[in-house]
C-alpha cells in the first residue's frame, strides 16, 4: 500500500532541459536532422557576422591605431585580409545622422526637444503615471513649444527647415503625421458612418481614394501640384508640403482603423446615450469615441509603425531624413563604398523604434483582452 501512495517522479526524459530538448529539438528523426542542419548553418554564419560587425571592425581607429577620417583609412581598405566593418563613418557623421545640418550652436534646442518629446509621450504610453493629468497638459502644448524651439521665433534665431535632417526629420514627420492624422481620422470615420448621405459619400470617396494610391504619388502631389493650387505669394515650405501629403495619407488609414472601433460599439450604447437626450456630438465625445478609441489603440499603433517606416519615402522628393543622410554620406567620396555599414546602422535605428512600438502594441492588446467590458452583456 505504502509503495503505491508514494509519488513517482515523471521520467527524466520528459522534464528539465533534456526533456525540453527532446520535445522541441529532437522529437523524431526528421526533426533532429533539421535541428542539426540549422545548428550547422548558424555555426557557419554567426562567427562570421560577429567577426565582421565587432571583432575585426574599426570603431574609431584602424588596426594601425590611426583615427579614421575617410574610407581609405579603414582597415579593410588598407589590407583586404584584415578587418571587417568600418563603423568610423557612423562615428564621424553621427551629428548629421541625428540632427542633419542644424547649426552646432543651436543644437541644444534639438536635444531639449528630444527630451521634451520623451516627457510628452510618457503619459500617453503609460496610463498609470502619477500626476498623469498635469503631464497631459504638457503633451497638449508640446507641439507649440517644439515648433518655436526647432524652427525659431519667440527670441530664438530661425533655423530654416532645409537645414534639418536625419533622425530629426524622421521624428518630426512621424510624430506630426500621427498627431495631426488622429483628429482628422476621427472626423473622417464619423463622417463615413454619418446618416447624411452627402457627407458619408464624400468621406468614403476621400478615404478610398487615398488608400488606393501609393504614398509616393501623394508626395509628388504635395511637391509638384500643391504649389500650383495656391495663390501667388504663398510659398509653402518643402517640409510642410511633405507633411500635408503624409498627414492626408495617414488620416485615411487612421479613419479606417477608428471606424473598425466604432463598429465594435454595441448599438445599445448609442440608444442609451440618445435616450438620455444627448446631442450627436455629446454622444460621440462622451460615450462612443472614448470606448471606440480605446479598443482601436493597438491597430492605431500598428498603422503608426507603418507611417514611421513610410517616412523614408520623402528622400525621393529630396528631403533628407535618416536614410537620406545615409545616402548622402555614401555619395561623398570620403566614404564611398561603405554602403553595408551605413544601411546597417540606419536599419538598426528604424528597427529599434518600430520593434519597440510593435512590442508596445502587443502589450496593449494583452491588457485590453483582460480588462474590457463594454456592457454588451
Amino acid at each position: 500500500m505504502n509503495e503505491m501512495n508514494e509519488v513517482r517522479k515523471p521520467p527524466v526524459a520528459t522534464t528539465g532541459i533534456i526533456g525540453w530538448l527532446r520535445i522541441n529539438l529532437f522529437f523524431n528523426w526528421t526533426n533532429s536532422l533539421i535541428t542539426l542542419f540549422v545548428i550547422y548553418c548558424l555555426y557557419q554564419f554567426i562567427p562570421w557576422i560577429l567577426d565582421w560587425t565587432i571583432f575585426s571592425a574599426d570603431f574609431k581607429y584602424n588596426y594601425l591605431g590611426e583615427q579614421i577620417t575617410n574610407q581609405e583609412m579603414c582597415s579593410r581598405n588598407l589590407d583586404p585580409e584584415n578587418g571587417g566593418a568600418c563603423w568610423a563613418v557612423i562615428y564621424v557623421r553621427f551629428y548629421q545622422f541625428i540632427y542633419g545640418f542644424y547649426p552646432r550652436v543651436e543644437v541644444w534646442r534639438v536635444n531639449l526637444a528630444y527630451v521634451m518629446l520623451a516627457f510628452a509621450l510618457l503619459p500617453l504610453l503609460y496610463t498609470k503615471l502619477p500626476y498623469r493629468k498635469y503631464f497631459l497638459y504638457f503633451t497638449y502644448i508640446f507641439p507649440v513649444i517644439a515648433y518655436f524651439l526647432l524652427n525659431g521665433g519667440l527670441g530664438f534665431t530661425e533655423v530654416s527647415t532645409n537645414k534639418w535632417g536625419g533622425l530629426l526629420v524622421t521624428l518630426v514627420l512621424g510624430c506630426t503625421g500621427i498627431a495631426l492624422a488622429f483628429p482628422i481620422g476621427i472626423m473622417l470615420a464619423l463622417g463615413r458612418r454619418s446618416k447624411l448621405p452627402v457627407i458619408s459619400m464624400m468621406c468614403t470617396l476621400f478615404i478610398e481614394f487615398i488608400r488606393g494610391v501609393p504614398l509616393i504619388t501623394l508626395l509628388f502631389f504635395g511637391m509638384v501640384m500643391l504649389p500650383l493650387f495656391l495663390p501667388e505669394g504663398i510659398d509653402m515650405d518643402g517640409l510642410v508640403r511633405v507633411l500635408v501629403a503624409v498627414t492626408l495619407f495617414q488620416s485615411a488609414y487612421m479613419a479606417e482603423v477608428i471606424r473598425g472601433g466604432l463598429q465594435a460599439i454595441p448599438p445599445g450604447q448609442y440608444e442609451a446615450a440618445k435616450s438620455l437626450g444627448m446631442s450627436y456630438w455629446r454622444m460621440n465625445l462622451l460615450i462612443i469615441l472614448p470606448q471606440a478609441i480605446r479598443i482601436s489603440i493597438p491597430p492605431i499603433v500598428n498603422t503608426s509603425i507603418g507611417l514611421f517606416k513610410d517616412t523614408t519615402l520623402v528622400i525621393i522628393v529630396g528631403i533628407l531624413d535618416l536614410l537620406g543622410i545615409g545616402r548622402g554620406t555614401l555619395a561623398d567620396t570620403n566614404w564611398l563604398g561603405l554602403s553595408y555599414e551605413i544601411y546597417f546602422f540606419v536599419s538598426l535605428v528604424f528597427f529599434i523604434f518600430t520593434f519597440g512600438m510593435s512590442r508596445y502594441s502587443l502589450y496593449l492588446e494583452k491588457k485590453l483582452k483582460t480588462g474590457i467590458n463594454m456592457g454588451a452583456d
Binding site: I23, N24, L25, F27, N31, I34, T35, V38, I39, K195, L196, P197, V198, I199, M202, F209, R211, G212, V213, P214, L215, I216, T217, F220, F221, V224, M225, P227, L228, F229, L230, P231, E232, I305, K309, D310, T312, L313, I315, I316, L323, R327, S339, Y340, Y343, V346, S347, F350, F351, T354, F355, S358
Partner: protein
Amino acid sequence: MRSNLGFFSDEKFRSIFFQTLVVGLFALGLFFVISTTSYNLEKRNIATGWSFLQNPAGFDISFSPFLEFKSTDTHLKVYFVGVLNTLLVSITGCIAATILGFILGIVRLSSNWLLSRLVYIYVEFSRNVPLLLQIILWYSILIQLPRVKQSLQVLDVFYISNRGLYSPRPIFESGFSYVLIAIVLALISSFLINRWAKKRQDKTGQQFPVFSSSIGLIFIVPLILFFILGSPLSFEHPELKGFNFKGGLVIRPEFIAMFLALSIYTAAFISEIVRAGIMSVSKGQREASAAIGLKQTWIMRLIIIPQALRVIVPPLTSQYLNLTKNSSLGIAVGYADLVHGFGGISLNQTGQAIECMAIVMATYLSISLTISFFMNIYNRSIQFKEK
C-alpha cells in the same frame, strides 16, 4: 416640446441645411483651386490638355521586356511600358511572396523550436525595417557583383554580373503555337474534370484521381506534342562581345532588387497572416480528423487549410494591394515603372504635373479596385455556405 430655435431643431431641415452647406463650401473651394491653378499655369507657361501624350518622349527606357521602346516613341507608350513594368513586378512579387509566406507561416508553427525561432527573427527584421531601405540595400548588393567580364557563370548558360542576370532567350518556331493551344485546352479540361469529379464524389462517394490526371494532361500531353512537332523551340544564348553581352534574355538588377525586396518584405507579413489563420482553426478539428483516421497530409489539406483560408484571404488581399502600391518605390533604384517612367521622367520633360499625376493615380486606383474585385469573388467562394 420644441425648442425656441424653431425649425432649426427639425432633424430633416438640419440634415438638408448641413449637407447643402458642405456641398457649397466644397464647390467654393474647388472653384478657388481651379481658378488659381489655371492662373498659375498660364503664368508659368505650362501647357494643358492631353496632346503631350502624342509627343515623342526623347529618352530611353532600359528595361522594357514586353514592348520595344525607342526614344522617338510617344509619352503614351512610356505610360504603357510603365504599366506593364508595374504589373510585372507586382504579379511576380505577389506570387513569390505568397509561396514564401505560406512556407514560412507553416514553418513558424513547426514543433522544432530552433526553426520556428529562426523564422520569427526573420519576420521581425524584415517587417520592422523600411521597405525602401531594403530595396536600396538589395540594389547596392546587386551592383557590387562582379563586372561583366568576370561574371559568375551558373550551369554554363546563366551569367550573373552587375548588369543583371543573362539567360538564354527562348525562340518560338512555327509549330509552337499548337503546344500552347494544347496547354490551354489541358487547363480547361482539367478544370472540368475537377468539377465533374467533385460532383460524382458528392453523389456516389467514389473518388477520381484528379491531381494525377490533371498533371498528366497539363504536362505530358503538350510535351508529347512538342516532340512530335520536332521540338519547335530553340534558345539564343547570350554572348560576350566587347564590354557587354549580346543576345539572350536579360533581367536587370533594378528588377531583381525590386522583386527580392518586395517579395521578402511582404512574405513576412503573409507568414504572420498564415500563422494566425492556421492557429484560428480549433484544436478539436485536428484531433477529430486524426480520430477518424485521416492521414496527416489529408488533415492539413482537407480540414485545416480550407478553414484557415477563410481567415487568411481578407488580410491577404490587403497585402497584395500593399505590394502593388509599394512597387511604386521602383523610382528609388531607377526601375522604369509607372511612377518612375511616366510620373517621373515624362512629368519632368513635359512639366504637365496635373495631367501626369492624374493618370498615374487613376491607374493605381483601377489596379487596386481590380485586385479587390477578384479577391472578393474568391473570398466569397471559400466562405461558409450555409445550407
